[in-house]
């Protein structure tokens, strides 16, 4: 005589439910099936006929079921009463749904339960300690009344909850009841289940639970605490919920994952997952070993999915992820560095930096002529075009794309006041940006340019204005980038120390001290140049207080090519 019986609640995909019921019944497990009353007469009869040859399959009185309401508990009560009454040998009753699928042979489950004859497997946690539900209605589900259907009357449901919150309504919880919650799929012993169903206070308790929100997750879970001798607070049914509280569905491609989970029964299976049904219901499917269920792997898959849906991938902008400002979880995908003015002051700064860091270093990505990618190509990672019009159509997107396309490789690029400036504010607010600025460095380039002085003066005024605006952006409150700003005069007082500071702050940059200096441009005559600008009425204030007399660059030697050594 069988010691394990199943109660099945079915409402859709009846042909699959029939397959599973047959599987259990043929393996000597009585099955009592509750079919939702909303299923039409014709389909119901067909379903019954389908299983008519099995004498240990029974159908109980039908209730009209609706998600989140008492009707589901009612259905399981009716079916449970029937199975306890008609199959006196049954020791454990397993509540399953029509979309459940056994993953291990019934004998495995039976042996597992026989070894634990007085254990009730029902997930049951107190609401005080664990937040069970997603977003609200945790304790309130026991304290408020829920007469309106969440599915059909969402508006009234929400308004009524609000109202109860506002007036501070609290229901009286019946004496001796400590509310517990848990998965609605349980496996209870005859003793516990019959105690719940034959409780002398059943009418009273029902009156209370009828107006609790989602009673099928709390009725048995709460009452089992009063009667069970030994509760294992977990469900034997593998059932995962997503962030909307909707069960995850298993498909054919989950076959290996399900196999390795060693769980007894899984829910919910997509009705057209032919391969899953064929594999797990086949007669020769045997369990490999007597293992404890280990849903950990599946948990990981689903928690990753949850993370994807709620937090997404930092720095990704695409057609199903376009965060509002402030909701990006990182404006760009990875840290990057921008050097403003450095290649005006130093010859071949990119080359030097690239050797130091051991990575590619771009030139001025936002140069007006074209994006100067490392290597000088017309396209770069992700087929990003160097074309200035395409880039300037949306410079922010250009930067976001570059950082996304080169994930895993730190991007370093040059910048200056002559470049496109639109993305300045975006960078200043990006915690991934490391921005190092030498203000007034553009004057060095103008100083060595072969141009008429009137032109130079006009250009200087233009660049200074642009630079001042950029600096203003960087100094704005709320700028989240790692920002360093020097005037030219400040910077050249101790260039090596300043460069070292920047590199030290770069994650993953080599740790040794700088030994080889970048070659600074020859600044002889530069103070006079600045003075001439001033004399023409253009004060290059961003350069800082540049020494007027006797200036000789401290690290500069006659030919300017000898490396500068630190100690």
């Amino acid at each position: 005589m069988s010691t394990l019986g199943f109660v099945m609640l079915c409402h859709t995909a009846l042909h699959r439910a029939a397959q599973v019921a047959r599987h259990w019944a043929e393996r000597d497990c009585p099955v009592v099936i509750h079919v939702d009353k909303s299923v039409g007469r014709e389909r119901y009869d067909e379903f019954r006929k389908d299983l008519a040859d099995l004498e240990n399959v029974r159908f109980c009185k039908r209730h009209r079921c609706e998600w989140g309401t008492w009707s589901l508990v009612e259905a399981s009560q009716t079916a449970s009463e029937m199975i306890l009454r008609e199959f006196p040998g049954v020791r454990h009753v397993y509540l399953a749904s029509g979309s459940c699928l056994p993953l291990r042979p019934v004998d495995d489950l039976r042996a597992y339960l026989s070894a634990r004859p007085n254990t009730d497997f029902i997930e049951s946690v107190t609401i005080r300690d664990v937040d069970w539900t997603v977003g609200g209605l945790n304790e309130e589900r026991f304290q408020f009344r829920f007469p309106f259907s969440w599915k059909r009357n969402r508006h009234f449901f929400d308004r009524y909850v609000e109202l109860q919150r506002k007036v501070g309504f609290r229901r009286r919880i019946p004496e001796g009841i400590v509310p517990h919650l848990g998965s609605q799929w349980w496996c209870l012993t005859r003793q516990t289940l019959s105690a719940i169903l034959e409780d002398p206070r059943r009418r009273e308790l029902e009156r209370y639970f009828k107006l609790v929100w989602i009673p099928d997750e709390s009725y048995y879970q709460t009452l089992a605490r009063n009667y069970a001798r030994n509760i294992e607070s977990r469900s034997l049914t593998l059932s995962k919920f997503d962030f909307q509280g909707k069960p995850h569905v298993f498909y054919d491609d989950h076959l290996h994952l399900l196999r390795r989970s060693d769980c007894f029964i899984a829910r919910k299976i997509w009705p057209k997952a032919t391969r899953l049904y064929a594999t797990f219901l086949s007669a020769d499917h045997t369990g490999e070993r007597m293992a404890e269920p280990a849903p950990g792997k599946i948990d990981r898959v689903f928690s990753k999915a949850l993370e994807r849906r709620t937090r997404g991938r930092s720095g990704l902008y695409m057609h199903s992820r376009f965060p509002n400002e402030g909701w990006e979880n990182g404006r760009t995908a990875a840290p990057y560095s921008m050097f403003h003015g450095f290649n005006d002051l130093f010859d071949d700064f990119e080359g030097w930096l690239s050797r130091r860091l051991g990575t590619t270093v771009h030139g001025n990505l936002f140069a007006p002529q074209k994006a100067r990618f490392a290597g000088g190509g017309d396209v770069y990672a992700g087929c990003l075009s160097a074309d200035p019009k395409l880039r300037d159509y949306n410079p922010e997107a250009f930067l976001k794309n570059l950082i996304w396309n080169t994930r895993g490789e730190r991007q370093v690029f040059m910048f200056g006041p002559q470049d496109t400036q639109q993305h300045g504010a975006f960078m200043a607010n990006d915690a991934n940006a490391q921005i190092s600025v030498i203000t007034g460095a553009w004057a060095v380039r103008l100083f060595s340019a072969n141009r008429n002085f009137a032109d130079i003066r006009a250009e200087a005024a233009r660049l200074q204005r642009r630079e001042a605006k950029f600096i203003e952006t960087l100094r704005e409150r709320g700028a989240r980038a790692d920002i360093r700003i020097w005037t030219l005069a400040e910077f050249i007082e101790d260039p090596m120390e300043n460069l070292q500071g920047i590199l030290d702050a770069m994650e993953g940059a080599p740790l040794q001290r700088l030994t080889e200096a970048p070659r600074m441009r020859d600044l002889r005559g530069f103070p006079q140049f600045l003075q001439s600008l001033k004399n023409q009425g253009m004060n290059p204030f961003v350069v800082g207080d540049f020494p007027q007399e006797g200036y000789g660059p401290p690290m500069q030697t006659g030919d300017g090519s000898r490396p500068y050594l630190v100690q």
């Binding site: 849906r309 199903s320 992820r321």
Partner: protein, 336 residues
């Protein structure tokens, strides 16, 4: 949104529906097999002209993925397209010689068919050179996706049109009927797209890719839109507003997450750039039936005459949907 604005959009939607009815009077039924449609069937809607050589693969691709019935509007083909489709057991075909352009590039016709036959079904509206790729598309059919979307109370599924191209001149490898076009056009641009929000309709406006790179350098704003919402649980009150880029009511356009998360989304692989395209571009340029005075086709024509090669050393070779997911061109969202 202001009530006045909402009302204006409502009127606009009504206008599309009336317009669809008016324009659909030019449709002549060629084969009507709509009796065979069952309640939960996935339906596919398509306007085309002279696409005979593409059809065999198109039909088999979507049949394999669980599309049950196809609706075609044939715009005056003369290459046997109509006759071929009329013989297919799961296709219903209409034909018209009216102006494609004046039917809002075929959308009026499709809106009408959607309203008449799409109500209550998941409807896929694609061109014959667009192939839907979605998460797990190698192991799960479209009904798995739509069942899941339905259970999640999601009514529309967003995609991006991903232009695929061959390596070398597009005329170099001829396309044979029935062949998987992505055996030839298997390369794509992975990360040069720009996105803006269209606040009126609530959709995203995506541009970029090889077409922008090769043909629209001087006028990036004119580059074709790549955002598409091809798969919708249709209701008779819905209407596509502009190609399948956006719909009304505007809630259907919200296929993206605004709070940092990723919604489940797919990609429409675009098999436009095959050898058959050059011919088509020349013809379409002559007919002037395409968007913005066929500017796109003019650009193609000019570009193609210079024997274009979209391929660069940074192009990605297509492998499968997982690759697209890793590259950030689509997302599993919370479908696992």
């Amino acid at each position: 949104m202001k009530a006045a604005r909402r009302y204006a959009l409502r009127l606009e939607r009504r206008k599309y529906l009336v317009r669809a009815w008016r324009k659909s009077r030019s449709l002549l039924p060629v084969a009507d097999r709509t009796d065979a449609i069952r309640p939960k069937d996935i339906l596919c809607f398509c306007t085309l002209r002279n696409e005979r050589v593409r059809l065999k693969y198109f039909l088999s691709y979507y049949r394999d993925r669980g599309v049950s019935h196809f609706f075609f509007v044939d715009n005056d083909s003369d290459d046997g397209t109509r006759e071929y489709l009329a013989q297919q057991p799961d296709c219903s075909v209409w034909t018209t010689d009216a102006s494609y352009k004046r039917a809002r590039f075929g959308m009026d016709w499709i809106n009408r068919l959607l309203r008449l036959y799409g109500h209550g079904h998941w409807c896929l509206t694609v061109d014959p050179d667009e192939f839907l790729v979605y998460p797990f598309s190698d192991t799960r059919p479209i009904p798995a996706l739509t069942d899941w979307l339905g259970a999640s109370s999601i009514k529309s599924f967003g995609t991006m049109l991903l232009d695929m191209y061959p390596k070398g001149a597009i005329t170099a490898q001829p396309y044979a009927e029935g062949q998987n076009p992505f055996e030839i056009a298997c390369w794509f641009d992975s990360g040069n797209y720009t996105i803006e929000r269209n606040w009126t309709y609530g959709n995203l406006w995506i541009q970029g890719g090889p077409r922008a790179r090769a043909f629209f350098k001087d006028l990036p704003a004119r580059a074709p839109a790549l955002n598409k919402i091809p798969l919708v649980k249709w209701h008779r009150s819905y209407a596509y507003a502009s190609s399948t880029h956006m719909l009304l009511p505007r809630g259907l356009n919200l296929v993206y997450d605004e709070w940092g998360g990723e919604k489940t989304s797919g990609v429409l692989l675009h098999a436009k750039f095959l050898d058959i395209f050059t011919e088509k571009a020349a013809e379409e340029l002559e007919r002037r039936q395409h968007y913005a005075a066929s500017a796109e086709y003019r650009a193609y024509h000019d570009g193609l005459n210079e024997n274009p090669d979209f391929w660069t050393r940074w192009s990605e070779k297509y492998i499968n949907w997982r690759q697209l997911e890793i590259l950030g061109l689509m997302s599993k969202g919370n479908w696992a």
